[in-house]
Structures are given as structure tokens and as C-alpha cells.
């Protein structure tokens, strides 16, 4: 017979109260675990997308006086006075020491063409690479599969009143419109997109490239080093890391994380209130019992210890069940939120942290009720002597 025996027996007798306590705390812990693990999974998903599909390094011709419009290139009527990137130099990118971290190299050639009375921008792309890289492009129709095919950006399509399957005459060549790009909010909306070789010919830029987008695996790789190494093999170009893209996505996730933590904090606080009110009710209900303990020689510290021990047991159970529930909820929700890469990673830190949090919240919320119990006047408590 120890304080533990008394605590366990009391909890066994008051099953409904214990269940209420456990649920109150469990909901809070499960919410924390769900939000934290979902945020982690979504961060991983974003990193994965950036790694696999998103370009995060841009190679443009070195120029001091160009206005920037698309990746440092202004097109249209402005004369572009710069040394273009030589297509033959592109394989050099795959020779840098960090080459294993390079997922894709997507060259482009840009120039103005006339379609009827309108002047529009034509972008020639490596068909295989570009459409795989731009996973966020939604095309009504299909991507370009041949040299005589084009995809039109939404603004170009609206301005020229283009329809799927329509034939377009550009510099004496006939093209078929095989796809309409849904609005992206980027410069792509104002372009006609076709094959790289065809565009080079049409624009008179054979063997030249206007800019190159490079996708580097950036979750745990040194992007800055890759940038430096590419600049070394292509010294006449300007190589920049598109950190803003990464930063803005990470910022959005940070905001989500902050929101998650705030929501979790509120839920845990409510859980703590449930524990506090329930433990206070339990202590008041057990006034006589506490009086007996005190009359039999239990010190105040023993009474505090007994109440906190009960809170510890309940919180431990709530912490373990809360963690398991949170993981269950994460696994259930993840496929809906992370469609590309719904990967869940087991974390000992999250498990330990959530159980510790439950125990700490349970103990803190029970501290006042425990002290209140220990301060009870045994005579008053007993009302018998």
C-alpha cells in the first residue's frame, strides 16, 4: 500500500470522471500532434515539390541595362543588347561538382512575333523538360508534342480570340493550337509556347538560349554553392537563386505553423481548464476522504503528492492516447492535404514532447486543487470529530 495504490484505486472507482479528464486533455494533445505533424508533412511536401519540380535557379545573360520582365529578360520592342547563352554550353551545367543535386535544366528562347496584326511573345521550350517542370500549369488540351504545335497563355488567347485546334500563321509557318493555358498569374499568360528548335529558327536565334531555369534539389542541398559552381562554368551569364519563391512558400508554411500553434495553444488551454475544474470538483467531493488522510497522519505534502499522482496518471494516459489519436488524424487527413507526396515521418521528439506536454499541463492544472486539498482543515473536512 502506497500513495500509488490509493491513486489507482480512486481512478478505477471514478471511471467516468477519469474518462472525462482524459478526453479533455486528449483532445488538446491530439490537436497539437495533428497540427504539428500536418505542418511538418506539408513542409516536406513543399520541399519535395521544390526539389522535384520547381525551378529555383535562373541563368540569364549578363546585362547591366536590361529592364527585367521575365527572369531578367525584357522582350518586345526593346532591343536586347547582351551576349546570349550558347546552347552548346548547357551540358556544362551537368559537369559541376554538385551535379547530382540538379534535377532539371530547362532552356528557353524568347522573342516577339506577329500573329495577324498583334505582336506577341513566343517562348520556345524543351518540351519534355518544361511541361514536367511546370507542374502547376493547367492546360486545356495537351502540351506541345511537335514542332508545328503551340500552347497559348490565357491573356494571349483572350486578346487573339484563340480557340483550340485553330491554325495560326507566324512568319509564314502554320501552327496548330493544341492547348490553352489556364491563368497562372505569371508572364506565361502573355506568351505563345512552342518547341525550342522551332522558336530558335523562327526568331533567328539558332544555337542561342535566352534563359535557363534549373531545378536543384534544395531541401538539404547548398543552393548558393550550386549557383556559384554554375557561374564558374558559364562565366558570361548571371546565375541567381530564386530564393524568393522558396522563401515565400516557406513563409506561408511558417504562417500556417504559427496559426496551428495558436489553435493548438487555445485547445490545450481549454484542456487545462477542463483538468482544473474536474480536479477541483474531485477535491471538493473528496473533502471527507482528505480529512481522513490528514487525521491518519498524512502530511500536506502527501495529500499534494496523491492529487498530483492521480493527475500524472490521467495526463500520461491522455498524452499517449492523444499522441496516437493525433497521428491517426494526421494519417487520415494527409492524403487530402498533401496530394503529391503524402509522406508521414514518425518523430520520437513529437511523441515525447506531446506526452510531456500532457503531463505538464495536467500537473500545472492540478497544482492549485492539490494545494487547496492539502490546506483543508482536517476537523472541518471530517466534521465528525
Amino acid at each position: 500500500m502506497t500513495l500509488k495504490t490509493i491513486a489507482l484505486n480512486n481512478l478505477r472507482r471514478r471511471k467516468a470522471r477519469m474518462a472525462f479528464l482524459v478526453i479533455g486533455l486528449l483532445v488538446g494533445i491530439a490537436t497539437v500532434v495533428t497540427l504539428v505533424s500536418l505542418t511538418e508533412a506539408l513542409t516536406m511536401e513543399t520541399e519535395h515539390k521544390l526539389d522535384q519540380f520547381g525551378a529555383n535557379i535562373l541563368i540569364t545573360p549578363r546585362s547591366d541595362d536590361l529592364a527585367i520582365s521575365y527572369g531578367g529578360i525584357t522582350v518586345g520592342d526593346v532591343a536586347m543588347q547582351y551576349e546570349p547563352i550558347r546552347e552548346a554550353d548547357l551540358p556544362l551545367i551537368r559537369t559541376i561538382p554538385e551535379r547530382r543535386n540538379i534535377a532539371a535544366v530547362a532552356p528557353k528562347v524568347l522573342g516577339a512575333v506577329r500573329v495577324g496584326e498583334q505582336r506577341v511573345v513566343l517562348m520556345g521550350v524543351d518540351r519534355e523538360v518544361e511541361f514536367a517542370l511546370k507542374r502547376w500549369w493547367v492546360i486545356d488540351g495537351r502540351p506541345v508534342a511537335a514542332d508545328d504545335e503551340l500552347v497559348a497563355g490565357s491573356e494571349v488567347a483572350a486578346a487573339l480570340d484563340l480557340r483550340m485546334g485553330q491554325q495560326l500563321e507566324i512568319n509564314g509557318r502554320t501552327f496548330t493550337l493544341v492547348g490553352l493555358l489556364q491563368p497562372t498569374g505569371a508572364q506565361d499568360d502573355r506568351m505563345l509556347i512552342g518547341s525550342l528548335g522551332m522558336a530558335q529558327q523562327l526568331l533567328g536565334k539558332q544555337d542561342n538560349i535566352s534563359l535557363v531555369e534549373v531545378a536543384a534539389l534544395c531541401a538539404d542541398c547548398p543552393v548558393e554553392e550550386i549557383v556559384e559552381q554554375i557561374a564558374q562554368v558559364l562565366p558570361y551569364t548571371r546565375v541567381i537563386a530564386m530564393q524568393q519563391v522558396v522563401k515565400s512558400r516557406m513563409h506561408a508554411l511558417d504562417q500556417f505553423r504559427l496559426l496551428s500553434l495558436s489553435v493548438a495553444g487555445v485547445v490545450v488551454f481549454i484542456g487545462a481548464l477542463v483538468v482544473f475544474v474536474t480536479m477541483m470538483g474531485s477535491v471538493n467531493e473528496r473533502t471527507r476522504e482528505i480529512g481522513i488522510f490528514r487525521a491518519l497522519g498524512f502530511r500536506r505534502g502527501h495529500v499534494v503528492g496523491l492529487i498530483l499522482l492521480e493527475a500524472f496518471i490521467v495526463s500520461l494516459v491522455a498524452g499517449i492516447l492523444g499522441y496516437l489519436s493525433g497521428i491517426g488524424a494526421t494519417r487520415a487527413l494527409l492524403p487530402f492535404l498533401a496530394t503529391e507526396h503524402p509522406h508521414f515521418e514518425w518523430s520520437a521528439l513529437l511523441m515525447g514532447g506531446s506526452i510531456l506536454l500532457a503531463v505538464a499541463v495536467g500537473a500545472l492544472a492540478s497544482l492549485y486543487p492539490a494545494l487547496h486539498a492539502s490546506r483543508m482543515d482536517p476537523t472541518e473536512a471530517l466534521r465528525a470529530l
Binding site: 472507482r13 481522513i292 490528514r294 487525521a295 500536506r300 505534502g301 476537523t379 465528525a384 470529530l385
Partner: protein, 235 residues
């Protein structure tokens, strides 16, 4: 030196509207091995007297010493230790913990003592045997009769082998036959050397006491010696 020495014991309950003098300068000396009955009508101060003697309520004035220990010179936690080591309480309404078995209830005072679990169990079983409930150890209080519950309460009071047993109306909620059983049990314990102070208003019980003190309005109005105290001191 007397085992219990009470001098000028005064207890006044004060509130905004009321001032009640529950005890008004009680002096008493009790020798070791005695079976003292404290009698009186409701409101005479006998429960307050037992609370103060049991280290549960501080007196307004006066001194209480048990076995040479000045109770109210002790700090709160030391007083709790004193209750655990020196006193056994038997309450009127048994005050058993409903979710603990008879054996666990008896072991309750040992819960905060550092001793092997097997020894706690053996000590509790032994005392349950002494009160005739060895076969009911695994029963919950709700599965025991009133008399059996009172016996468990007596066993719990004795498990720590305390020098002094305090009983508050231990037969108050029992029928006549069961009351007699309990009084005979207490008498037997007293004959084995246990010092007992018992509060009661039941005149029937006076035949069991060595000595009877009558309280009225917080004062000792009668102090009768009824039997000689046995010389055995095997408390």
C-alpha cells in the same frame, strides 16, 4: 509523569456574530493504560476536546502533552507525523475509504511509511485477525456490515501500534448487540495495554471505563474513577 497531561485547555469559536466557548479551562491527567470515557450532552465540548487531543484542532489557550510531547509546539507537518506515530482514530461513522478493501483501509496509515510492502500487509492482516476479520480482508466496505466496518476502523486505528487510541462515539451508529461487541473489543485491547480515550453520550458504555469524565458547557463537571487500571503496559 502522566501519559496525557492537559492544562487550562480553552477553545473559543468566534465568528462575526457568534462567540462560542467550547472548552473553558479543562485540566486533566490520564495515566498510561487507562480507558477513559468522556461523556456529555451534545454541545458539551467533548468532540472539540477529542479534536484537540488528537492534534486536529489548535486550542485557543492551554497545553496538551502526550507522552511528554507538547502537541501544539509541533509544526503542522510534525503534528501530522505525531498523529501517524502516536495516535489511532476510530470515527463515529467509520470513515472507511469506499474504494479500498478492508485490508487496504487498514493499511492506509502505513501508505506513507517507508517499510516493505510485505511487512505492511502482514501487519495489517495481523490486526484484522485481532479484530476477528481475517476472512474479510478482500471485501469492500460496502460488502461489510456496520459492526464489521467499525472493526475495520478499529483495526486501522491499531495498525501503526499507536500508544493512544482515540474513539469518537464508536458505537453511535450501531445496534445494541454490535455496540457491545465493539465495546468488548475495545476493552480487550485495553486489557492488552492499549490506552484509550473514548467520547460517548451513551450511559450504557460507562461500565467499560476505568474512569469517566463528564463535560458540560466546556467544563469538567464530574471525574469518576470506576475501575483500577491494570499495570500491564504492552501498548
Amino acid at each position: 509523569m502522566p501519559f496525557i497531561e492537559i492544562t487550562g485547555l480553552t477553545k473559543i469559536y468566534e465568528s462575526d456574530a457568534d462567540r462560542v466557548e467550547a472548552l473553558r479551562g479543562v485540566d486533566l491527567r490520564v495515566e498510561e493504560g487507562a480507558f477513559l470515557g468522556v461523556m456529555g450532552q451534545s454541545g458539551s465540548g467533548k468532540s472539540t476536546f477529542l479534536s484537540i487531543l488528537g492534534g486536529l484542532a489548535h486550542p485557543t489557550a492551554g497545553k496538551v502533552s502526550v507522552d511528554g510531547i507538547d502537541l501544539y509546539a509541533l509544526s503542522g507537518e510534525k503534528l501530522a507525523d505525531f498523529r501517524r506515530e502516536y495516535l489511532g482514530f476510530v470515527f463515529q461513522s467509520f470513515n472507511l475509504i469506499p474504494y479500498l478493501t478492508a485490508l487496504e483501509n487498514v493499511m492506509l496509515p502505513l501508505a506513507v511509511k517507508k517499510m516493505p510492502a510485505a511487512q505492511k500487509r502482514a501487519q495489517a492482516l495481523e490486526v484484522l485477525e485481532r479484530v476477528g476479520l481475517g476472512g474479510r480482508a478482500a471485501h469492500l466496505p460496502s460488502q461489510l456490515s456496520g459492526g464489521e466496518q467499525e472493526r475495520v476502523a478499529v483495526a486501522r486505528a491499531l495498525v501503526n501500534r499507536p500508544p493512544l487510541l482515540l474513539a469518537d462515539e464508536p458505537t453511535g451508529s450501531l445496534d445494541t448487540a454490535t455496540s457491545e461487541e465493539i465495546m468488548e473489543l475495545l476493552t480487550r485491547l485495553n486489557q492488552e495495554g492499549q490506552t484509550i480515550v473514548m467520547v460517548t453520550h451513551n450511559e450504557e458504555n460507562r461500565r467499560y471505563f476505568h474512569r469517566m469524565v463528564q463535560l458540560r458547557d466546556g467544563l469538567v463537571v464530574a471525574d469518576e474513577s470506576l475501575r483500577r487500571v491494570a499495570t500491564s503496559s504492552a501498548a
